[in-house]
């Protein structure tokens, strides 16, 4: 039961801290912010990779590999495109 408690605390604390941080982001950075949090949401890649830590039959292996590929696309693409966008913001 303590596990679920820990998980609830982590969830609540992260939401609260995230909320406090993100409410201060200026409007001009909303697209990069969304694009970056989009990349962070693909942290499911952790779960996808961990599937390979236990025995899998072939169909499950294929599904797990697909999950890794999709999450990786989201993570790598998300951070790259955010970086590109932010590089365009210039001050003369």
């Amino acid at each position: 039961m303590s596990d679920i408690l820990v998980m609830l605390v982590v969830f609540a604390a992260s939401s609260a801290i995230g909320y406090a941080m993100i409410s201060k982001v200026p409007q001009r950075l909303h697209t990069p912010l969304m694009s970056m949090t989009n990349a962070i949401s693909a942290s499911t890649i952790i779960a996808a990779l961990l599937l390979f830590s236990s025995k899998l039959d072939s169909p499950h292996k294929v599904l797990a590999a697909a999950a890794v590929a999709l999450a990786a696309f989201n993570v790598v693409g998300g951070f790259t495109v955010t970086g590109r966008m932010l590089k365009m913001f210039k001050k003369q």
Binding site: G18, Y19, S41, I46
Partner: protein, 476 residues
């Protein structure tokens, strides 16, 4: 999992992630913050694999999937044209949703051990949200890429279908708790949720897209957090929760900027038969500025002979202060470089130039800022609505490029329209208002813009890119 050292490492990683997000105050800080967040995620993956190493028989496949997909993602995002960013962001979001769905299904149907009630419940949420955000994001991505109709599509019995699908999803989720293999319940839940997401998303369109995009962003975050509960991974829960709150904040900011409730946007309100200001298909028509359509009310009796283009050029030449108002029309017409070139020319000649950006201009939060940044505008010249609205009264020219609803005075002056009460830019307060819109049709809201009939309005209807090019030529 819960010893002190592990907890300390996890907290450290979460702190790096949060520190990264907290750098999103200035663009240069945000670049660093983006790198920090990427690093935090990399650490999280490394730590997870260190604690639970892969089986050697599995490692090759996992490494291949990871490497191939990362390379593809990097190539696509390093090359993609910035105008396709909204569509790409939606597509990536969908990929993340599908990943969450697959993870939960494999995790639960792999049946390494009988899952507890909490894991089952979390898996049900994860599958459901993952599937719905996948289909919803794909629809949004197609809309933003112009591959399907951008206006809301309402099917007969739309509400009833959504209600039915929700009930069916709940039933499928309940079946997961029955003894035995939960796989068939999970797969049914996945398909029902896919249908739900598509139906949900197809009804939201046009100027409401920023809300849909932010909402889907929040939903994928939620799916990731529940995925983390399924596998009992603190870092994944934390990452998901942060994204969910970010998406939620953006959703609310967008709703507030339109003075509408989230529910009102989700159920589409007055969805059908709304006229569209400018659809991408019609924008490319070449003939424009030479003979623009006559203004709705020709209320310039003092100088009826002068053509609007010359009057606009004269007004710009004489202007000491100019405020540019970009809208989604600028994005469709790809007129950002011309807009910035014209503003730059006037600036060279000593005019004070500022840009006023409405929070919901465009198709995603902050859309205009990215387009203008790409066209090399100094970001210190971009102002948010509340900071600049008072300045219009002391401005010589307000230059509107492809914006209608966000400058429509009817929002303040008329009751009972779809945009009544929505905060708008006070473009009409400027001495002259130059309107570079495609035509005189109302914006997405369908509310006619009385600004066009004011004596201080100079109407240059047509493709904004061409119009602005002619203005630049005239001023040279």
């Amino acid at each position: 999992m819960n010893n002190a050292a592990n907890i300390a490492v996890d907290i450290a990683i979460i702190l790096v992630l949060i520190a990264g997000i907290s750098r999103f105050r200035t663009p240069s800080g945000a670049r660093f913050g983006n790198a920090m967040a990427a690093l935090a995620l990399l650490f999280a993956v490394a730590v997870a694999l260190y604690r639970n190493p892969m089986l050697s028989s599995n490692a090759a496949l996992a490494a291949f999937a990871l490497a191939a997909s990362s390379l593809a993602a990097w190539r696509v995002s390093a090359k993609v044209n910035m105008t396709r960013i909204p569509s790409l962001v939606a597509f990536q979001n969908g990929a993340g949703g599908l990943a969450a769905l697959l993870v939960a299904i494999v995790e639960m149907s792999g049946a390494r051990s009988a899952p507890g009630a909490i894991a089952s419940a979390a898996a049900a949420v994860s599958v459901s949200l993952g599937a719905a955000t996948f289909s919803g994001s794909m629809i949004a991505s197609l809309k933003l890429a112009g591959k399907i109709r951008q206006t809301p599509t309402v099917v007969p019995g739309h509400n009833i279908a959504l209600l039915f699908l929700s009930a069916a999803c709940a039933a499928a989720a309940a079946l997961m708790f029955a003894p035995g293999d939960p796989t068939s319940a999970l797969v049914s839940l996945a398909f029902l949720s896919l249908a739900f997401g598509a139906l949900f998303s197809i009804r939201i369109g046009g100027a409401d897209m920023p809300v849909l995009i932010s909402f889907l962003n929040a939903a994928t975050g939620m799916a990731a957090a529940f995925c983390g509960i399924v596998i009992q991974n603190r870092l994944l829960i934390a990452c998901g929760a942060v994204v969910a709150s970010s998406g939620f904040i953006l959703t609310m900011v967008m709703c507030r900027a339109m003075n509408r409730s989230l529910m009102n946007i989700i159920v589409g309100g007055k969805a059908p038969a709304r006229p569209q200001a400018s659809s991408p298909a019609t924008v490319s028509s070449p003939e424009t500025t030479a003979a623009p359509p006559a203004p709705v009310a020709a209320s310039q009796p003092e100088q009826p002979e002068t053509d609007p283009l010359s009057r606009a050029a004269d007004a710009l030449r004489a202007a000491k202060k100019l405020i540019v108002i970009p809208g989604y029309g600028m994005a469709i017409a790809q007129a950002q470089s011309e807009t910035v070139a014209l503003a730059g020319m006037l600036e060279q000649a000593g005019t004070e130039v500022k840009y006023a950006v409405h929070p919901v201009a465009g198709r995603m939060p902050g859309h205009m800022h990215v387009l203008l940044a790409e066209a090399d505008v100094d970001y210190d010249k971009l102002f948010e609505m509340d900071d600049i609205n008072a300045e219009f009264a002391e401005t010589d020219v307000a230059l509107i490029v492809g914006a209608c609803d966000v400058v429509n005075p009817a929002a303040k002056e008329k009751e009972g329209t779809p945009i009544s009460g929505m905060p708008v830019l006070n473009a009409g307060d400027a001495r002259s208002v130059i309107v570079c819109n495609f035509d005189d049709k109302p914006g997405y809201s369908g509310v006619p813009n009385p600004l066009y009939e004011r004596p201080n309005a100079i109407l240059l209807f047509g493709d904004a890119k061409t119009t602005l090019a002619s203005l630049i030529a005239k001023l040279q």
